[in-house]
Amino acid sequence: LAKTTQPISMDSYEGQEVNITCSHNNIATNDYITWYQQFPSQGPRFIIQGYKTKVTNEVASLFIPADRKSSTLSLPRVSLSDTAVYYCLVSAPSTGFQKLVFGTGTRLLVSP
């Protein structure tokens, strides 16, 4: 099961680009990388998912190098409302079933 490592916290200012990197050195060939966002008193919600290279949606980009041992979530021009905890997740297929394990997450604080 691929273990993920992320920075505990990051600080930024409104309007800046924020990059959060996740390390997953023992990722398996079929694993996907998924990022979730969690606000206080709420369950996490899906942001983006990828397998390799780059994926972009309306809220974020995900960069995955060729060796797939890390991934970077990029949030363009953050606002105060992006203050949250961000989790990197590596799916781990085992006998066809999904054991989805979260790490400790990165607490992002966006200041004015």
Partner: protein
């Protein structure tokens, strides 16, 4: 919209009591999960289920059991609650397969006195 509903947002129980946390999803998802969340520890997987009456242990199953009698409902059971089980409990569901996002409920905050 997918909806995952947890029966109680806040519960207060006494040590030794049996506690049931109920979770219902309305999107016919095969997989359901129970996590607990504690400060500094992130989300930890307790149990998950990939089909009715099927379950698998997560990373911290000790002191917990689960029940999935119907596809839409996944219950977490604390047979004899202890103070170290005071936590936020989060239920989630998703479709089967390697992809697909998790949909979470709003959480149940349990306090064991």
């Amino acid at each position: 919209d997918v909806k995952v509903t947890q029966s109680s947002r806040y519960l207060v129980k006494r040590t030794g009591e049996k506690v049931f946390l109920e979770c219902v999803q309305d999107m016919d998802h095969e997989n359901m999960f129970w996590y607990r969340q504690d400060p500094g520890l992130g989300l930890r997987l307790i149990y998950f289920s990939y089909d009715v009456k099927m379950k698998e242990k997560g990373d911290i199953p000790e002191g917990y059991s689960v029940s999935r009698e119907k596809k839409e409902r996944f219950s977490l059971i604390l047979e004899s609650a202890s103070t170290n089980q005071t936590s936020m409990y989060l239920c989630a569901s998703r479709t089967g397969g390697i992809r697909g996002e998790l949909f979470f409920g709003e959480g149940s905050r349990l306090t064991v006195l």
